[in-house]
């Protein structure tokens, strides 16, 4: 195993790592004491800003900057929503943190609330994580008893309540404004922005939405300092004016066709190949990789030749992927059919589209219908153009939808077909030898609603 000393995962193998006793024994809640006695909320925001911490939930937005968008001198209340909906296929690092080191998550949450002056935090947890619910709830209970939560925390004038809120198995509740709507008791339809949550979020009040791993990083920044944080990772790419650099430790999820799937902590900027070889023990069964998802299925595909891509916020974009996403790498060996991969991806997004925006609702469903037809041996070469047309026109990047789910649906389509086009063409010609050149429209009615 490589020599990087884990920080976020430092405690998870200790017996009873989820208890307050073990957490405190390894220095837990020291950062909170330090912040409450030595820092103002503004100073903490400045600290996080200067660390260049970027959100770990998928978009990589600078955390300190997001916090500074909150209105100044707001009478309150300000709300913190911790995004623990973690539903991006391939992703499970938040689960590991919540199950094995819930106090680290809670300390980061308290610190983030102190910085933003939030007095209530909701942890929006996906339904499928019952153990995380149990562990977080008992961590919260321990904190109230120990004076880390509730009124006048550790004798300061800062008070905070944290509540668990369970989702109901819908991917779109991870999108921050879908989460907010769901928390309010409505269908999880993402909101049109602006207004951004910092101005008008949950219950029409200023709100910050942060990921579990993001707030966990805050604790370590307070504890170890900005110098330490910025000594890990990769500096800004000078050719990309929108890249502020990628700093800090990162939890990578590795699954699919590798020998040792798991959640591994490494410096931001490790290459996909290093992750697979040094942490994952290589591709399984002595086979070669054919492709890998770089950061959750929404991010698209790396080919074998692109596996040396750095997994930092800038890297995957350089080879045509959407971004780093959740840093969840899914490896596919040489036996995997890209038609099957794309079918799986399209089925997921058709199932999870919330249906508000026509390009997303129709685009995800029709792309699945086309993939179903191709898989059934009735594909046409023209279908590839249709799929690419869908891929190029749905999403917030082309500017046709409310939220980024549609971009996540588009990228696997664009990457799979553009990077593996000959495989698609060969499959269609082989399985539909008499019809692959047909260009007339296919009758539509019998194929709607297939997922």
């Amino acid at each position: 195993m490589p020599k990087f000393e884990p920080v976020l995962l430092a405690n998870i193998d200790k017996p009873n790592s989820h208890t307050l006793q073990v957490y405190e024994a390894s220095g837990g809640y020291r950062a909170l004491r330090k912040a409450l006695s030595e820092m103002t909320p503004l100073a903490l925001i400045e600290l996080v800003k200067s660390s260049n911490l970027r959100g770990r939930g998928g978009a990589g937005f600078p955390t300190g900057l997001k916090w500074s968008f909150l209105p100044k001198d707001h009478p309150g209340p300000i709300y913190m929503c911790i995004n623990a909906d973690e539903s991006e296929p391939g992703t499970f690092n938040n689960r590991v943190l919540m199950e094995e080191d819930p106090h680290q998550v809670i300390e980061g949450t308290i610190l983030s609330c102190f910085a933003t002056r939030a007095t209530t935090a909701y942890i929006y947890l996906r339904y499928e994580y019952p153990l995380a619910l149990e562990r977080l709830q008992s961590a919260i209970d321990e904190c109230y008893a120990a004076g880390y939560l509730g009124k006048n925390i550790l004798g300061s004038d800062f008070s905070l309540d944290i509540y668990m809120h369970r989702g109901a198995a819908a991917y779109i509740c991870g999108e921050e404004t879908g989460l907010i709507e769901s928390l309010e008791g409505k269908r999880a339809w993402p909101r049109i922005k602006p207004p951004f949550p910092a101005v008008e979020g949950v219950f029409r009040k200023p709100t910050v939405v942060n990921n579990i791993e993001t707030v966990s990083c805050v604790t370590h920044i307070v504890e170890r300092g900005v110098e330490w944080f910025k000594s890990i990772g990769t500096p800004a790419n000078p050719d990309n004016p929108r890249d502020p650099g990628s700093y800090g430790p990162k939890l990578y999820c590795l699954s699919g066709h590798v020998n040792k799937p798991g959640c591994y902590e490494a410096p931001l900027g490790i290459t996909c190949r290093e992750l697979i070889e040094e942490y994952g023990g290589g591709v399984w069964k002595g086979r070669k990789a054919k492709a890998a998802i770089p950061g959750g299925i929404s991010m698209g595909l790396l080919t074998e030749a692109e596996l040396d891509t750095k997994l930092d916020f800038d890297g995957p974009g350089r080879v045509g992927c959407l971004g780093l996403g959740t840093a969840a790498v899914v490896v596919m060996d040489e036996t995997v059919s890209m038609i099957d991969f794309l079918h799986n991806s399209c089925r997921f997004f058709a199932h999870e589209s919330c249906g508000q925006c026509t390009p997303c609702r129709e685009g995800t469903n029709w792309s699945l219908a086309i993939l179903n037809r191709i898989k059934a041996g009735r594909g046409r070469l023209r279908d590839l153009e249709l799929l690419l047309e869908i891929g190029d026109t749905i999403g917030i990047i082309p500017g046709t939808t409310i939220c980024g789910l549609a971009d996540g649906a588009a990228w696997p389509i664009k990457n799979a077909i553009r990077k593996f086009r000959s495989e698609f063409e060969e499959y269609i010609q082989r399985t539909n030898p008499t019809g692959y050149m047909v260009r007339e429209a296919v009758p539509a009615l019998p194929v709607v609603q297939l997922h």
């Binding site: 391939g90 499928e128 809120h165 369970r166 109901a168 409505k186 899914v330 991969f341 919330c354």
Partner: protein, 168 residues
Amino acid sequence: MSDRILTDEMVAAIKAYFPRYPTRRAVTLPALHIVNAQLRYVPLQAVVEIAELLELAPAEVQDTLSFYGFFKQDEPHGEHRAWVCRSISCALRGSEEILDHLCHAAGIRPGETTANGKLTVEFAECLGACEFAPCVLDGMTTLKNVTKESADAYLAELGIRSNTNGQP
């Protein structure tokens, strides 16, 4: 009314959530979960009663409920509800075969419940346990690295005898 569905315990559990949120409406999902955990479904009458507690129109609760495929309304799901992940990491390691096998062995189709009322089998999207692919979630239990053999053992524990006679 004599045919109320929500028990006093459920009502008390729902009301205990009120202080957590500035609006009653935010208690919709917690309330649905409380009822569903007891009844294994949320019939329309329960929707009406929840709406009354939350000072909402029944249609508002129904609107939210129907957005999530999670809550059944026609009949309860089985004592156990097994979610078989079909997303990419699990699919790469044979989850489609596991879903087929479980359903075939239990004599049901995805979404259905066995005749003894013990088990409902459903597909799920990524369960966030991809390092254990293929995996199945049943309540608090995650079945990890599931094989046809371990799937049969799981069924046997529920008193469901595989009707495949060793055939796939």
